[in-house]
């Protein structure tokens, strides 16, 4: 009996709802712009908040953020969607996927898109290491979105116990300090999961060591890795020594490296500036941060970025592209940039946004959030510090990590490991060159 009543109620309810749905004229419905992203947790919520702000600010378009998993899963989903012609208008792709996307034939370069949709963006105002990383043939290919760079977080309590105030500027002096911390009963440092990015790539950029020929790949697809002939080899040796002596711990899969640091079990933590969110949320953690160390006797240069950019995909109606462009213009606005910067810890992408954050007194409040910006804009970028442009970059990186880990585990001496990493990497680069000949 009660079931019959409830069924009738449902029928009545849906009948009532129908006219409401029909009453809305089709023209007033905002055009949906699908935006696939890979931001989980707090930063994912912030991203959704940003799209809500955009949707509320105008009525022509509605951006729908769709979480597609990790960066790897997202680029895969994008490939699959493109091949079945069901691609979204906008995707967030990590920096390592740049060459794959750029030469995919599946994207509209952002500067081309914005010009076609008559949006005026001051492209010259983008922070150099960010713009440089994503500029091809004088034009930005994708919209900088979440850009980060690694900095050095440290546990003030462990340093104080060893009579130290803060980490030294050079690797050599830092090693002495870490030994002091250890001697005073403190823990070793913790190595981030993406250590290749800070310990090899940013290390090379900051110290102005060549990583690969052809300006680290900017000059052509026939680039070849050279880091086996630079101090990167000594860096691998240093990491092994630190691990042997208990100065450097590896987190592995059971626990997040950031959690090891925030729970006070490590002296330092070299990680993305976007780790700020996790570090600030930690209770009872006395922490501070400094720029990344450099080699004794070198002049430190700018570091390189990581993170992701927004790509506009081909194959959509002009009216959709208008919506995509409109959202990207919103993303590029200094106000949006500053809001995103404050909410997530990612760096502002333009000088105007940086100036705005400064004028609002943000860095007096949060001085460590300025470290990344300052480190990125330190000096004029050299050919070795502008960034890395390699095809199949994820694959070369995995080969490099595998060989580095052989050195960490004592299976190969560092030189042998890096020689093998380079020869494997070059083979992977050649495969990419062969497939994309004449397209770059």
């Amino acid at each position: 009996m009660s079931m019959a009543v409830s069924r009738r109620a449902i029928l009545a309810g849906s009948a009532g709802a129908l006219p409401l749905l029909r009453a809305r004229p089709a023209s007033a419905a905002p055009r949906e712009i699908r935006f696939w992203h890979a931001m989980s947790g707090v930063n994912g919520e912030r991203l959704e908040e940003m799209t809500r702000q955009f949707n509320a600010a105008q009525s022509d378009f509605a951006v729908t953020p769709i979480f597609k998993g990790t960066y790897d899963e997202l680029i895969n989903a994008t490939v699959a969607a493109y091949r079945t012609r069901t691609q979204p208008q906008l995707v967030q792709i990590y920096e390592r996927g740049f060459m794959t996307m750029l030469l995919s034939g599946a994207v509209v370069p952002v500067q081309e898109l914005m010009a076609a949709q008559r949006h005026n963006i001051n492209w010259a105002d983008f922070i150099k290491p960010i713009a440089g990383y994503y500029t091809h043939k004088g034009e930005l290919a994708a919209m900088p979105f979440n850009s980060s760079t690694p900095i050095l977080f440290f546990n003030k309590a462990h340093f104080a116990k060893a009579g130290l105030e803060k980490p030294a500027e050079t690797w050599q002096a830092l090693e002495q300090q870490l030994r002091q911390v250890k001697a005073a009963g403190g823990p070793g440092s913790i190595m981030a999961d993406d250590y290749h990015w800070s310990w090899f790539e940013n290390y090379s950029a900051i110290n102005d060591y060549q990583y690969a020929t052809k300006n680290n790949g900017f000059g052509g697809l026939d680039t070849e890795f050279t880091y086996n002939r630079t101090p990167v080899v000594q860096q691998v040796g240093r990491m092994k020594r630190w691990m042997d002596d208990g100065l450097l711990q590896t987190a592995g899969q059971g626990v997040a490296a950031a959690a090891v640091f925030t729970s006070g079990r490590s002296a330092t933590f070299i990680a993305s500036t976007a780790t700020h969110a996790a570090v600030m949320a930690a209770a009872n953690l006395e922490w501070d941060a400094v720029p990344l160390p450099y080699e004794e006797g070198r002049t430190p240069r700018n570091s390189v970025i990581g993170g992701a950019v927004l790509w506009a995909l081909r194959g959509h109606a002009d009216a959709d592209n208008a919506g995509t462009a409109s959202f990207l213009a919103f993303v590029a606005k200094p106000e949006t940039q500053v809001w995103w910067h404050k909410a997530t810890g990612y760096v502002p992408a333009t000088n105007a946004a940086y100036a705005l954050a400064q004028s609002q007194g943000w860095y007096r409040e949060r001085p460590t959030q300025e470290i990344a910006v300052k480190q990125l804009t330190r000096g004029e970028p050299t050919a070795n510090s502008l960034g890395y442009r390699f095809g199949n970059f994820t694959q070369t990186m995995f080969a490099q990590r595998e060989e580095a880990e052989r050195a960490f585990g004592g299976q190969k001496p560092p030189q042998q490991a890096m020689d093998d990493a380079v020869s494997r990497g070059n083979e992977i680069l050649r495969r990419f060159e062969r497939l994309n000949a004449g397209r770059y």
């Binding site: 711990q249 590896t250 987190a251 079990r265 994820t394 880990e405 052989r406 994309n436």
Partner: protein, 327 residues
């Protein structure tokens, strides 16, 4: 000659149409192999839904994967080069691939042996458990209900050298345990995790198989003076041989193919590719590195490998097994 001679009667049973008629079976008249359908239409009709699903989700993707193995292609599919056997020869030349193959064999052998050995011990013990047998079984069956990714993460946590309680215990015993740096430790960890997860599968089959061994035969052997070990090898093992063989095949398939999630959650194939077994390498090269040609070539080789292994198992072992269990 005699009047009592009885003329031969025509068969009483109505004969089936030829295509439905049961063919003469020279083999066993009872046991597993003797059961089957008479004819071929009904079985095909019954199989059709499953075959359609297999066609859509297995054969078509498998054929496309097979084709991919001979191509060099960018992920978005705008450039396709036919490269013949190059993807495969490149693999066969690569030291990493052979290392991964060697690792997979070791891993599968170790997992199979451990799962089967411990499963058998526990199955035997079931008989000896006097009180709380249901609880004992339930506890043993629990791991099967846990998702592989969760199981992997839990083990990774327990044995994590920084925070894991099990690792702390090992350190306290003076064992330098660090699966993040030592490949051997990592391999041991994934073998333990994978075996633990699959143990109950072997266990439940073995309990059932052991239960079907007639007590009278064992008791008769005992009366004749056979010690437990002799009773096991001469009576029990031959009688549960079909189950043992089945488990051997299933454990091999499990080790080779179904341990992906555990590897992904426990070690991600590291450190230094120490746990990068073939099926995980296929995933990383295809879905992370977007190297479709090589990944497809690896799947083809993996398929050939698994098929030949199964054929060998059937040829070598299955022939010696008797499925005729009469009770």
């Amino acid at each position: 000659m005699s009047e009592t001679a009885i003329p031969a009667l025509p068969p009483r049973r109505l004969s089936w149409p030829a295509f439905l008629r049961r063919k003469a079976r020279p083999e066993s008249l009872h046991g597993i192999k003797s059961s089957g359908f008479a004819g071929q239409v009904l079985p095909l009709v019954l199989l059709a839904p499953q075959l359609v699903i297999l066609l859509m989700f297995f054969f078509i993707p498998a054929i496309r994967g097979l084709a991919q193995a001979f191509l060099l292609q960018d992920p978005f599919g705008q450039e396709v080069h036919f490269v013949g056997l190059e993807n495969i020869t490149a693999l066969l030349r690569s030291a990493e691939y052979w290392e991964s193959l060697r690792l997979s064999v070791n891993f599968t052998l170790a997992t199979t042996a451990l799962t089967f050995g411990v499963g058998l011990l526990l199955a035997f013990a079931t008989d000896r458990v006097a009180r709380g047998r249901t609880a004992y079984r339930a506890v043993l069956l629990l791991p099967y209900a846990i998702a592989p990714a969760i199981a992997g993460f839990v083990w990774a946590f327990l044995f994590n050298p920084i925070v894991g309680p099990a690792a702390a215990l090992l350190h306290a015993l003076g064992i330098a345990w660090d699966p993040n740096r030592s490949g051997d430790d990592a391999l041991l960890l994934v073998i333990l995790t994978a075996s633990w997860k699959h143990l109950c599968y072997d266990y439940i089959f073995l309990v059932a198989a052991l239960g079907s061994v007639p007590r009278s035969v064992i008791e008769a052997a005992a009366v004749d003076g056979a010690r437990p070990l002799r009773r096991f090898f001469w009576i029990v093992l031959p009688m549960i041989a079909p189950t043992v063989f089945f488990l051997l095949v299933m454990n091999t398939v499990y080790g080779l193919f179904e341990t992906f999630a555990i590897i992904d959650a426990t070690t991600r194939g590291g450190p230094a590719a120490a746990t990068n077994i073939l099926v995980y390498k296929v995933y990383v090269d295809g879905f992370v590195n977007l190297d479709l040609g090589s990944s497809a070539a690896q799947s083809v080789l993996l398929m050939i490998f698994a098929i030949s292994l199964t054929v060998i198992q059937f040829r070598l072992i299955e022939r010696r097994i008797s499925y005729d269990v009469s009770q």
